[in-house]
């Protein structure tokens, strides 16, 4: 709101500086990072047995993903190494390519998909731990039938060769075969199957051409086709899938679920549909493969890299549309929450003014409670507990959550603005014969608004940035969409900086709107020279 004081609504030089700096950062980072680890073509054979094996990575830094228990495997097969945890595959791969870790641990199909797309990454062909991939099922009794049908279906597929066919399609090179018919083609006579999954797991579950596809999705589709179900896919954070299914919010959880005893306590597991392994992925150059040509550092080379990065992240498969969709979701949640939260916060203020013995403690308790718990947890409580059984959409739940959060802070800000207005204003209005309500709306609130709007604007921007956590409850906002893009392009810099720019510009829009509002309600002071001009009429 600094711009309000110097009276300019144009984009200020400071904004331009920030934007230019961000773009420069994009070019620099993309230029440096996207080239991959091509600084040398060394072969890492530390024990000198003439072959690069798992043993060569003992004592090195190994990247692992959170939410999957790889620790034991690493400790057993690559003893003495330091484990670094990453939230998703994209981050982990960027870490490998930039040399932050020496190797990463991956499931076999995932490694295959990655190395096919990015030849600078290769796997060490020693299976550290074979495991079975299953679907998880809700413990609710109405899923009993569904589970038995699925088990039967998987057995059938294994027998009649369908499973093999699916593996050839999804783990193979022919992109044209990797297609799933539209979900709307399913009849749905027998009801709806709600599936929770995370679409950043190529080739098991991922987004291609803006739709969720993959080996498991294809399997689910064929299952629904056979048993006349319709299929609804709910894309969310991997960490959230298990709890969501265990409370019965969704019927099935997918995305490469492995069988383990903890899972078995809260959900039911289907017959395994795919047996796979766990491999260590390393820079291809370690194995003496891949592109070892040393790029010379030049501006044109950098621009080429940026071009290819833009192409990979946004142009290919029209991935920019994902980002646009994310912007829509972020805007929807932010602006509806601000609107509804403002109304609710204002209501809380009005209740507090009544001096009611009941309303005041209730309002106070409400704000203290909402402000006292982390937003992620509040959202999860709403999603899994409060609305756990209802069919209300996750965008709706996010909007409700942020409305509650914004109402609490809005009421505090409005209240502090009202408190700063001298009680004499109210008394003067009453003494003239205005009612308490008239005094409030005509004199107290307009004056308080001038004082709280700058703070209010900051709170709105904070809310906008806070909405980036909605990925936790299966909402695909800007942040989540950029994660999805990263999971396909295996690049961090461009998608992240693009999200930064988007949030920055949205925040700018908010502050411009509020600035305008501020100017509208601000008293129209007249400069001394204008007074004589207007003095005559009115």
């Amino acid at each position: 709101m600094k711009s309000s004081s110097n009276g300019s609504r144009k984009i200020l030089p400071v904004d331009i500086v920030i934007i230019v700096a961000l773009i420069a950062l994009v070019i620099a980072l993309v230029g440096i990072l996207s080239g991959g680890n091509d600084d040398n073509g060394k072969i890492v054979d530390t024990n000198g047995d003439g072959q690069v094996t798992l043993a060569d990575y003992s004592g090195k830094k190994i990247g692992s993903i959170t939410g999957v228990n790889y620790d034991d495997i690493i400790n057993k097969c690559v003893p003495g190494s330091e484990i670094m945890y990453y939230a998703n595959y994209a981050d982990m791969i960027v870490a490998l390519k930039s040399g932050m870790v020496d190797a990463i641990i991956l499931d076999e199909p995932v490694l295959y998909a990655i190395s096919r797309q990015d030849p600078s990454i290769a796997g060490i062909p020693e299976d550290m731990k074979p495991w079975d991939m299953s679907f998880i099922f809700s413990p609710k009794p109405n899923c009993d039938l569904l589970l038995s049908q699925m088990n039967m279906f998987i057995e059938e597929c294994k027998e009649d060769g369908t499973m093999e066919e699916l593996q050839t399609i999804w783990f193979g090179d022919d992109e044209s075969k990797k297609i799933i018919p539209p979900l709307t083609d399913l009849s749905g006579e027998a009801g709806v199957v709600n599936v929770a999954l995370e679409s950043v797991y190529e080739p098991i579950v991922y987004i291609k051409d803006k739709t969720i596809v993959g080996f498991e999705v294809d399997l689910l589709y064929r299952f629904c086709q056979k048993y006349n179900y319709s299929l609804v896919l709910n894309d969310m954070d991997f960490d959230a899938i298990l709890p969501a299914v265990s409370v019965g919010k969704y019927d099935i959880g997918a995305s490469g679920m492995s069988y383990n005893e903890e899972h078995a306590e809260s959900v039911r597991m289907s017959t395994p549909h795919y047996s796979t392994g766990t491999l260590l992925a390393v820079p291809a150059s370690d194995l003496g493969m891949g592109n070892t040509a040393n790029d010379s550092f030049s501006l044109s080379g950098m621009i080429d890299k940026v071009k290819s990065s833009v192409n990979k992240n946004f142009v290919k498969e029209d991935r920019w549309q994902l980002i646009v969709k994310g912007i829509g979701t972020t805007c929807l949640i932010t602006f509806i929450s601000i609107l509804a939260g403002s109304i609710m916060g204002f209501g809380i203020c009005l209740l507090r003014r009544t001096d009611s013995r009941l309303a005041n403690p209730i309002c106070n308790a409400y704000t203290r409670f909402i402000q006292g718990i982390p937003m992620v947890i509040l959202l999860m409580i709403l999603f899994y507990v409060v609305f756990g059984k209802s069919k209300i959409s996750s965008v709706c739940v996010a909007t409700i959550g942020f409305t509650l959060i914004f109402a609490a802070s809005a009421s505090e800000i409005i209240q502090s603005g009202l408190n700063s207005i001298d009680n004499g204003q109210r008394e003067a209005a009453l003494a003239l014969g205005y009612t308490d309500t008239q005094a409030f709306f005509r004199f107290l609130f307009p004056q308080a608004a001038l004082r709280f709007i700058p703070l209010y604007c900051i709170e709105m921007i904070t809310l906008l940035n806070d909405t980036s956590i909605v990925g936790y409850i299966a909402v695909q906002d800007v942040t989540k969409m950029s994660d999805i893009v990263r999971s396909r392009s295996y690049e961090a810099a461009l998608p992240l900086i693009t999200s930064t720019l988007i949030y920055f510009l949205l925040a700018k829009v908010i502050s411009l709107v509020m600035d305008r509002l501020f100017k509208t309600i601000q008293p129209k002071r007249i400069k001394p020279e204008d007074k004589t001009m207007i003095g005559g009429e009115d």
């Binding site: 003067a428 003239l432 004199f443 002071r525 003095g535």
Partner: protein, 361 residues
Amino acid sequence: MSMITIEHLRKEFPGLTPLADVNTTINKGDVISIIGPSGTGKSTFLRCLNGLETPTSGKVIVDGEDITSGDCNINLIRRKMGMVFQSFNLFGNLNILENVISAPVNLLKIPKDEAIAEARELLKRVGMLEKQYNYPDELSGGQKQRVAIARAIAMKPEIILFDEPTSALDPTMVGEVLSVIKGLAREGMTMMIVTHEMRFAKDVSTRVFYMDEGIIYEEGTPEQIFDNPQKEKTRKFIKRLKTLTFDVDSATFDLPGINTMIEVFGRDNSLAPRMIRNLNLIFEELTAADLVQKAETLPIHVDIEYSETDESAKISLTYGGEDYDPLESGDPLSAKIVKNIVSSAEHTYTDKNSIVMELRS
């Protein structure tokens, strides 16, 4: 014609009872000044009249309606009673003209053009037309208060309550506000003014209430209250008396100590240095050098009074023994010194001697 009747008005705050039992009647055309020491409920009294404070008990009857009863619409009563506050309380979000027309247009539903024309007339009367498009924070205190008065008059009230209208003002701005109020008094506006401006109260009012101890302690015309107050507390307040009393009960009393005491009293109350010296001199010549020498005079009661209003002091000595006037029968040199200092001296004897001397600056 009685406009407001107040019966047994009482207002209690937790741990404080500013109004104990107020009874009076206010008539049309009255200009009532309410004076009294701080904290004696003058402002509370005024605020009870238009319901800004809810009385603990008692009745306030305005035009036949008891505003303390539940079924009275206080908002309608307030339209008939203007109020001017110590802290002006102009609406900060409105300009001067809007401040004046707001209530007439919104509450009395007077057409806006008409209200603006009237408001300009009023602003002209209080000398503020030039500032009609300014905002309150661009005005001086005196200017704000004049606008506040115009805002009150714009509702055409039957009475205007002034709650210390000049207390928050610079001394240089008091005059402009008082002259506006005087103008209203001349036009016959009924007003009640809580004020510390004694001269103004004396000039402008038809009645004066001296409030103390939670009641209207003394009431009368300005002449009665200011020139001839009947009660001691009123007199002390009007004359703004400062007093010092002590007893001398032994011939070996602490003279330097008492001299210092008189000096401190004098300095604290801004007496002229010469007057402090003279008070000391009188005390020494009459008491120390003369009276204490006679054992039967003890104890000697000394009473010093200083009036800020007329900057005069009075020292009186009361002592026992036979009829004895030191100025007549005492040491001639001492008597001469004292007589030179005082403007009057009077000795009386009933069962005790009493000598009262006045000093002027």
